[in-house]
Symmetry: C2
């Protein structure tokens, strides 16, 4: 086994989830900082072995020679702190204010934007056959749309959330927003759609997405 | 104006939210590390002035002589990094693994536990008068209960999430779980109820809660 940092993720996911599994966040961070890594694939999810590494039976989880962690936000922060300071691959500014602003936006993506976003995804996909799905949709959308309007206003005409350039805050916000293409929510928020497209146009994202999708060309049976 | 760090929060909230507003997280962190702070109160929420500091019109937001940030997770991390290293008030272990484990649990609280928890709170409180609320409740509970079972298993018989002692991960997880008393969900998870009670028994929490509640004895009119 190599000494490279390793992530573990699912070897198979349903069609709709391909391109959206959270190992993509870790892969993107590795590509931005130019750090090679290894990937281990899980065949059977939510086993005792899986939960020993990730208590909720989710992916990804991560280890390097020093630490083992889960939660994609923690993993992206670790990659940025370990390999992403200084140089072209900087994901965290060196100054205290810039660094905390990047972390603040990562947390805003995970705790202020993703929960109402999941509300819409759950309604439209996982509760689509429930009797309340159609009537509840505008209610779930209202929570989300308020956040997306506020995010649009704050982003304004900037390329990234802070003027100093792309950080882990943008990496997380872009990956949080991407699933909104499926229920076509981003059609109503062109400023955010353009922001997501800018993130996806980065070579590091393109490489990460290609490697993520390649797993499913020869999926590991569940 | 003093040079102390400052948080801004609401000067008035509805009865059910008292004791649960997120400024409590920042107050608790300040008390754990023994750092004095100032509190500014907002009279009118979601104004342009408010959103200039907190783009989503939420609370708390924070500033010290070096930075201004929002998101309670970022604020708690800032307090821990700035004033909480070493000594009795340590909220972040000094070693890389212990530090990242604390951050990992903070993120698990905010992104793996709080979203399904909000699903139940939203159903039971904010959608209680909707035609689907009763029928949807067990569906919302199922998402949440799976996470709470997993969290119970991982906590086991430990006092805190990691054996090294109380960290920002526990501070965040306890404050995330507390609202579950209202819909009586914690009655079904006695291990987690005892964990929350251990957090609430800490003198720093008691002081923070008392100061938080004192605001509403002479509330600032909205």
């Amino acid at each position: 086994m190599s000494n490279l940092p390793r992530i573990t993720t699912f070897g198979w996911v349903p069609e709709f989830a391909r391109g959206l599994v959270r190992d993509l966040r870790a892969r993107w961070a590795f590509e931005e900082v130019g750090q090679a890594y290894e990937v281990d694939l899980i065949r059977d999810a939510k086993t005792d072995e899986h939960k020993a590494h990730q208590p909720f039976g989710q992916v990804p989880f991560y280890r390097d020679e020093e630490i083992e962690i889960f939660e994609s936000g923690a993993i992206v922060l670790r990659i940025a702190e370990r390999w992403g300071s200084g140089g072209a691959g900087k994901l965290l500014p060196d100054d205290a204010a810039g660094r905390m602003h990047a972390i603040q936006w990562m947390l805003a993506a995970l705790n202020s934007v993703e929960p109402p976003l999941l509300g819409v995804i759950i309604n439209d996909r996982f509760e689509a056959d429930k009797p309340w799905a159609d009537e509840r949709r505008p209610v779930a959308r209202a929570y989300l749309d308020a956040r997306l309007r506020d995010l649009t206003a704050r982003l304004g005409d900037k390329d990234w959330l802070e003027r100093d350039g792309f950080t882990i805050g943008d990496l997380m916000m872009v990956t949080v927003l991407r699933p909104l293409r499926i229920p076509r929510v981003l059609d109503d928020f062109p400023t955010l759609a353009a922001y997501v497209a800018r993130g996806e146009a980065r070579p590091a994202f393109q490489k990460a997405l290609a490697d993520h999708l390649a797993v499913f060309e020869h999926p590991v049976a569940a």
